[in-house]
Amino acid sequence: MRGWDFFQNQILGMKWLNEVIGSGLSAIGLHISNRWTGSIQFFLYDVIKITILLCFLIFLISYIQSYFPPERSRKILGGFHGIWANMIAALLGTVTPFCSCSSIPLFIGFTSAGLPLGVTFSFLISSPMVDLGSFMLLMSIFGWKVAIVYVVLGLVIAVAGGTLIEKFHMEQYVESFILSAGKVDIESPDLTQKDRFIYAKDQMVSTFQKVFPYILIGVGIGAVIHNWIPEVWVEQILGDNNPLGVVLAAILGVPMYADIFGAIPIAEALLAKGALLGVVLSFMMAVTTLSLPSMIMLRKAVKPKLLGVFIAICTVGIIIVGYFFNFIQPIIL
């Protein structure tokens, strides 16, 4: 496993970067045993590491996503039935590009094509929660075991959530204008390889510009936690001593929205200070999956009751996953 460890630690984790920064700081007279210097080292290392990962990941993922426009997903999903459709929907949600202002047209497009409500919701749940970016990011920060379990559980929540919504026969809670819209078959334009690279590059640049402030804030908070917050505080509220840590994390996380690249350094620091893995991951899931802007958008397409059920299913799912991660923490980390 030595080759993989090297990949995990040096390529994904960029531990060498931490060493370089440490040496650099020592060379100008600052000792890393000093609290302030320790914070600076952590700050520089994390910001640079996350920025490099961000640029690389967004580019790669946007390129892959250019092959899966929603029109194509809709066509693919039309061919599946029952729980298979939910599973494929959850998988496609992972690779389809998603902007919150697309969620309503997409919802409408899927529904008017006759796709079952549950299938559309499996797609909507997995899209923000599970994506290639978070997968690779988690792999680099927490290791491949955590990353794979996270993705699998996220997909399970998406499939279960969608299936439940369908079992509750909530079609009546979709806004009527959507149900009366006819299906329009529209072909999305074909892209050349060059188009795809340009698209990927543009996504990388615009995401970087949008997310960089959050990375700085996230790493800043992480650095403060890393060097200034006593372990005892973290352990009491988020560690072994608090059986409700996961619930707390999920409930706090749901109304908040943070980009996953900004949330990761905070999660990393809390984990190092004794927070349980499940608490930290459920906070991250809650923060990225549900957000006020996307709920407001979704409300235009579905009535309050359905929206409420959607939020409840996501929250409960996240809580269950959180406890599961706490449980398997000893074997997986």
């Binding site: 426009p69 929603p70 029109e71 809709r74 590009p97 902007c99 919150s100 202002c101 697309s102 309503i104 047209p105 997409l106 409408i108 497009g109 899927f110 008017s112 204008f177 959507i178 819209a181 299906k183 329009v184 078959d185 529209i186 072909e187 999305s188 334009p189 698209y199 543009d202 996504q203 615009s206 958008m297 235009k300």
Partner: protein
Amino acid sequence: MEIKVIGAGCEKCGKLYENVQDAIKKAGCEAEVERVEDLIEIVKLGVMTAPSLMIDGKLVISGRVAKTSEIVKLLK
């Protein structure tokens, strides 16, 4: 030429609209630009992503902000 800039009002949609205006000036052509922001209208067109661009009824940009230069090429 009939151009439709489709999007339910997020900043990306605004950017695409700006780029379209720029492109029309640069290409120097006659075009009628319409902003489709109403969800029902977007549904009727069958568009599923935002922002998107339709020229004379054909979907040419789907779900992304195209640069002015790219739009100029499409207008010609």
